[in-house]
C-alpha cells in the first residue's frame, strides 16, 4: 500500500475534479461550435425572413421563427401572472400547513415530469376535452403547465431571499401586508423572479414534445391568422426537416439548428446578465 502525503492527495484530487469539469464543458463546446460552424453559411436574411419553398428543401424558416415567438409570448402571458401570483401566495401568505406542503411537493414533482407527458395531457384536456383543437392557444396552455412550476419555484426562492427584517420594518410602520409585498419585497426579488421567468420560457421555446399534439404544424403555407390556428415552431421544424423530409439539404438543417440554438442562447445570456445585475444590486 502506497501512502501518499496529504499534499500529493490534494494535487490528485484537484486534478481529478478539474478534469471532470473540463469533461462536462467539452461536449457542449463541440456541439455548439460544430452547429454554428456548419450552420453559419446557411443563415442569411432571406433564410430568416422567407417562407419555406420546394417542400421545405429551400427558402427560409420565417413561419417557424414567428411561431416560436408566438408560443413563447403566449406562454409568458399565461404562466408569468399565474406562476408569480402562486409564488407570492406560497412565500408570503400561506401558513406552513399540510396542504401547502402538498402543493410544494406537487410543484417539485411537476418539474420532473417528462415533456411528452405534458403533451399528451394537453392533447386530452385542451385539444379534445375543451375543444380548442390543435392550436396556438392549446399549445401555449400546455407549455404553461410545464413552465409554471419552474417559475413558481425560482420566484418563491427569490422572494424568500428578501430579508425578513425588511418586511417587519414595513409592517411596523403601518403598511399592510400587500403594501409591504408590493413596495418592499417584490422590487427586491424582481431580478430573481425574472431569471426564473426567462429560464422557464427558454425551456418552453426549445421543447418539441408538448406542442407535438397540441399546436405544432408539419408545414403551413402561410402564417397563422389567429390563436386558434396551428403554427410552425423551430424545434418541431428542426425535427421535421431532419427526419421526415427526404433529400433535405444539410445546410438548411444546420441553419435551423443554429437559429434555434441562438434563440435559446440569447435568452440564457439574458438570464445570466439579470442574475449578475441582481448580485451587484444586492447589498444586504
Amino acid at each position: 500500500m502506497i501512502r501518499l502525503s496529504r499534499h500529493h492527495t490534494e494535487r490528485i484530487v484537484f486534478a481529478v475534479i478539474g478534469l471532470a469539469s473540463v469533461a462536462t464543458a467539452v461536449p457542449i463546446i463541440i456541439i455548439v461550435s460544430s452547429i454554428f460552424f456548419s450552420g453559419a453559411e446557411a443563415v442569411s436574411w432571406q433564410f430568416l425572413l422567407e417562407m419555406p419553398r420546394d417542400g421545405m428543401r429551400s427558402g427560409g424558416i420565417w413561419p417557424a421563427i414567428i411561431g416560436t415567438i408566438y408560443l413563447v409570448v403566449g406562454t409568458g402571458l399565461i404562466s408569468i401572472p399565474l406562476g408569480v401570483a402562486s409564488a407570492i401566495y406560497l412565500s408570503e401568505y400561506a401558513a406552513d400547513s399540510y396542504w401547502t406542503r402538498m402543493i410544494r411537493l406537487a410543484i417539485v414533482n411537476l418539474a420532473g415530469i417528462p415533456s411528452v407527458v405534458y403533451g399528451l395531457f394537453g392533447l386530452g384536456l385542451f385539444v379534445l376535452f375543451l375543444d380548442l383543437g390543435s392550436s396556438i392557444v392549446a399549445a401555449c396552455l400546455t407549455l404553461s403547465i410545464m413552465t409554471i412550476p419552474v417559475i413558481i419555484s425560482t420566484a418563491e426562492e427569490a422572494l424568500r431571499a428578501v430579508p425578513q427584517s425588511f418586511r417587519v420594518v414595513s409592517v411596523g410602520m403601518g403598511a399592510t401586508r400587500w403594501q409591504t409585498i408590493r413596495r418592499v419585497v417584490l422590487p427586491q426579488a424582481l431580478p430573481g423572479i425574472l431569471t426564473g421567468v426567462i429560464l422557464g420560457l427558454n425551456r418552453a421555446a426549445g421543447e418539441t414534445a408538448p406542442i407535438l399534439f397540441t399546436g405544432a404544424a408539419f408545414f403551413l403555407p402561410k402564417l397563422p391568422n389567429s390563436i386558434f390556428d396551428q403554427t410552425m415552431a423551430l424545434p418541431y421544424h428542426l425535427f421535421v426537416i431532419s427526419t421526415q423530409v427526404p433529400e433535405m439539404p444539410i445546410t438548411i438543417q444546420y441553419g435551423t439548428a443554429t437559429v434555434l440554438l441562438a434563440f435559446v442562447l440569447i435568452m440564457n445570456i439574458l438570464a445570466a446578465s439579470v442574475r449578475s445585475w441582481q448580485r451587484r444590486k444586492r447589498e444586504w
Binding site: 430579508p163 417587519v168 414595513s170 410602520m173 444586504w284
Partner: protein, 253 residues
C-alpha cells in the same frame, strides 16, 4: 385623566403556544417620559415591547389576554386598525436595518406607502425627520447616497428618522444600541433625550448605565413578570427587591 396617560397596561398575559412569556404585567406609561425595560435575556421585555404596537400579531400561534389602553383606546379591541396603531406607535429595531435604497427613499418610504405626503411636502417631511433624528448635518449634501454606505450609528439614526417620518406619538426601541460602538451609542442616547420633548419613548436595554442615564422610569422584568417598576433613580439607588438590586448592580444577569 386618560389623556394624561399614554399606555395603561393591565393584567397582560402573553403566550407563545403553550409557553407563557408574560405574566400579569401592569404598567403605566406617561406621555413624554422615557420608560426603560431591563432584565435578563428571555425575561419577556422584548415580547412586552412588541405587544405595545401589536407586532406580535404577525407571529402565528400566540395568545394574549388583559388590556393595553393607548390614549383611552384598548388597542386589542376588535375595531382597532392595527396598521394605524403601528403608524402611531413606531418601532426601532436592534440592528440598523435600512432598505438598500437611498437615504431619501428610506425616510420617504412610510409617508409614500401611507399617503401622508407627496412632492414638496414629502421632501420637507424627510428633511424634518432627518433633522429630528440628528442625522441631517452629516448627510445633507447628498440625500441620494445609498443608505448602506453610512456607518452603523448613522444607519440607526436613519432608521429612527424613517420611523419619525410617519409622525408617531410613541417610539418603541428594542435595544437600539446593542450593535453600536460607544460613540454611536452616545449619539443615540443624546438623540433619545431630544426626542423626549415630543415623543413618549419605551426602550428595552441590556445596558444598565444606559437605563440609568436616559430613562425616567425603569421596569425590571424577571421570568415574564414585571417584578419592580419605579422611578429610575429609585430602581438604581434603593430598589425594594433584593433581586432588582442584584441585577442592577451586576451581581447576576
Amino acid at each position: 385623566m386618560s389623556d394624561e396617560i399614554t399606555f395603561q397596561i393591565e393584567q397582560l398575559n402573553f403566550y407563545y403556544g403553550n409557553t407563557q412569556a408574560l405574566c400579569d404585567v401592569n404598567m403605566t406609561v406617561l406621555p413624554r417620559e422615557i420608560t426603560a425595560l431591563i432584565g435578563p435575556s428571555g425575561c419577556g421585555k422584548s415580547t412586552f415591547l412588541r405587544c405595545l404596537n401589536r407586532m406580535n400579531d404577525t407571529i402565528t400561534d400566540t395568545r394574549i389576554s388583559g388590556s393595553i389602553v393607548l390614549n383611552g383606546q384598548n388597542i386589542y379591541a376588535p375595531n382597532i386598525d392595527e396598521t394605524e396603531l403601528r403608524r402611531q406607535v413606531g418601532l426601532v429595531f436592534q440592528r440598523p436595518n435600512p432598505f438598500p435604497q437611498s437615504i431619501f427613499d428610506n425616510v420617504a418610504f412610510g409617508p409614500r406607502v401611507l399617503g401622508i405626503a407627496t412632492g414638496n411636502d414629502l421632501h420637507e417631511l424627510v428633511v424634518q425627520s432627518l433633522r429630528a433624528a440628528a442625522l441631517w448635518d452629516e448627510i445633507k449634501e447628498d440625500l441620494k447616497q445609498p443608505a448602506l454606505s453610512l456607518s452603523l450609528g448613522q444607519q440607526q439614526r436613519l432608521c429612527i428618522a424613517r420611523v419619525l417620518a410617519v409622525t408617531p406619538d410613541v417610539i418603541l426601541m428594542d435595544e437600539p444600541c446593542s450593535a453600536l460602538d460607544p460613540i454611536a451609542t452616545n449619539q443615540i442616547e443624546e438623540l433619545i433625550q431630544e426626542l423626549k420633548e415630543h415623543y413618549t419613548i419605551v426602550i428595552v436595554t441590556h445596558n444598565m448605565q444606559q437605563a440609568a442615564r436616559v430613562s425616567d422610569k425603569t421596569g425590571f422584568f424577571w421570568l415574564g413578570e414585571l417584578i419592580e417598576f419605579d422611578e429610575t433613580t429609585t430602581i438604581f439607588t434603593r430598589p425594594s427587591l433584593q433581586r432588582t438590586e442584584d441585577y442592577v448592580t451586576g451581581r447576576f444577569g
